[in-house]
Amino acid sequence: MAYSEVVNVSGYVGNFTVQVKKKARYIDEKECTACGECVAVCPVTRPDEYQTGFSTRKAIHIPFPQAIPAAYLINMDDCLGINPIACGKCADVCEKKCINFDMQDQIVELKVGAVVVATGMDVYDPTEIEEYGYGRYPNVITSMEFERLICAGGPTEGHFVRPSDEQRPTRIGFVQCVGSRSSKYGHPYCSNICCMNTVKDTLLLRDHYPDTQCSVFYMDIRAFGKSFEDFYMRSKEEGVRYIRSLPGEIEEDPETHNLRVVVEGGNNGSGVEFHEFDMVVLSTGVIPRGDSAAIRKLLTLSKTSDGFLMEAHPRLKPVDAPTRGVFMAGCAESPKDIKDSVAQAGAAASHANILLNAGQISIEAITSMINEEICNGCELCLRVCPYHAIQSTGKQSPPVVITAACAGCGNCGAACPTGAITMRHFTDTQIEAQVDAICSENAHEKIVTFACNWCSYAGGDFAGISRLQYPAYARLIRTMCSARVDEDFIWRAFQQGVAMVLVSGCHYADCHYIDANRQTVVRVNRIWDKMEKLGIRPDRLQLEWISAAEGQKFAKVMRDIEEIRKKVTREEIDETVRVLNEEDKEKQTKKLAKEAKLAASGAPA
């Protein structure tokens, strides 16, 4: 569906309901023959977004030449013709009468079993790098603008000219890594495609205009794909100069609009060099789409630290999203070239097909279940579930777990105030038994460590197989996610005289359950506050994000916690146990009093 936008997605794997807003084109696309009569009479002219502003379009236009369907549309933000008295010229000249100003947006509802996200990327805007003068100097352009200028379908029909005087430039400089691999401007990651794009651009220029002198300023040329190194070598053989240094500044001659690039340590290896050019092309990086947050919200997806969508597993499930039934392809997942995008798109389509053809799915047995007799229908579980796998059945009645959508993080189990939710194979009873077992002997020496299955537990394992030394007082309890750690587990450990408790999980960007570990932070903060209120040192509870590769960090954290543990006295632990026992008694008394009051009033308990 062209010229449409997804506005809502509900349901779960195999049963998604997608609402799509089909935007009004104000033109009957079946009748329109794209004759162009309407464009000729349209009086409204705007910069053409597709041609990066180098040419103009009309209010009635085709967004780009290869658009499907090949029918015009009217941008109502620009058009004067909503009131035909004001304009309506296009409607007058259209012989087939396919212009309809009364057309409305339509909401189309689709039932689908799987969703593939291939929403692409945006390009970094280098205006913020003042040293390069983009936006101030007309002859400093981006690689995307270069693409339009050299394209036969571009504003100059492929005649490469510079914007200031429309003369052909003969000396062109390319600056790599603009907005990429930088902690100061743009993003720290490599945008993957810019090096080979520049190599291609230089060859294209040499092919079109053999007398053009090209210079490329770079820090590394990353030509790691098949035949890419040959391509790079060909560019060098064609006479393109590669200078290993990034410019500190670009200056403009105000009369000629020629540019002077200032670099340090270029050809000579030291000192400052000046290079004169007619035009400079900034090889701008790739960034996540501006609307990626909305897409993540629609499909309950997660992002990595660079802002691109996170896959279910970086190596084993590179096209699967954490939400079952959702797949991803192309630059929505990470910056990649056409070949990789096509390969990933094929894989995503195949995975979706496998899922749909099977007609059923296998899920891990670690899902949540609700004890309807205990549940008070507060629906807190609905709010904390990162997958929307728990559905309401109405006020004050127990909600239902959609097992196919449940990923088994256990966040709901930890949040449930009545203990009505539990996780299969990670039940409260099982975890409490582990806490009890740890505390049964020399509890005052122990560090109870709750470690998430995917990262922290593996981090501890890595520390072990790397033979890293750390104090031997840690006792690990594995949970699928740190969000499974119920506040009661921590209190139970302290109540049994344990010296220290550590809750550890994945780093924010690596959380395997979208954003479940954010709830861990909320719970740990709540416990710190209560510890202080009860006169217990809050630093006896620690929280750390440790990845599977951070064996070193795991060992360091254990050593640091051991230093705190040494300072926790037996008297302090005894006092904690006494305070918590007293609080327990108070709770019991209040509960009994409440039950007695209810019984006296004749209300059901």
């Binding site: 960007a509 954003d515 710190w528 630093d539 509870l541 929280l543 750390e544 994000w545 640091d560 705190i564």
Partner: protein, 48 residues
């Protein structure tokens, strides 16, 4: 900006934080993630 106290080293620092902010807080002193969010003290009620 929100006030934090590191539960590992005791260092107090400020960092940006909001409910919707997807931002991992760590102590600038010891890099620990045990960063307790300190609640802003309520202003004293005006005397009548």
């Amino acid at each position: 900006m929100t006030q934090f106290r590191c539960m590992m080293c005791g260092h107090e620092f400020e960092d940006s934080w909001s409910k919707d902010d997807d931002h991992e807080v760590s102590c600038p002193n010891c890099k620990s993630n045990s960063c307790r969010r300190l609640k802003a003290k309520k202003a004293a009620a005006p005397k009548k």
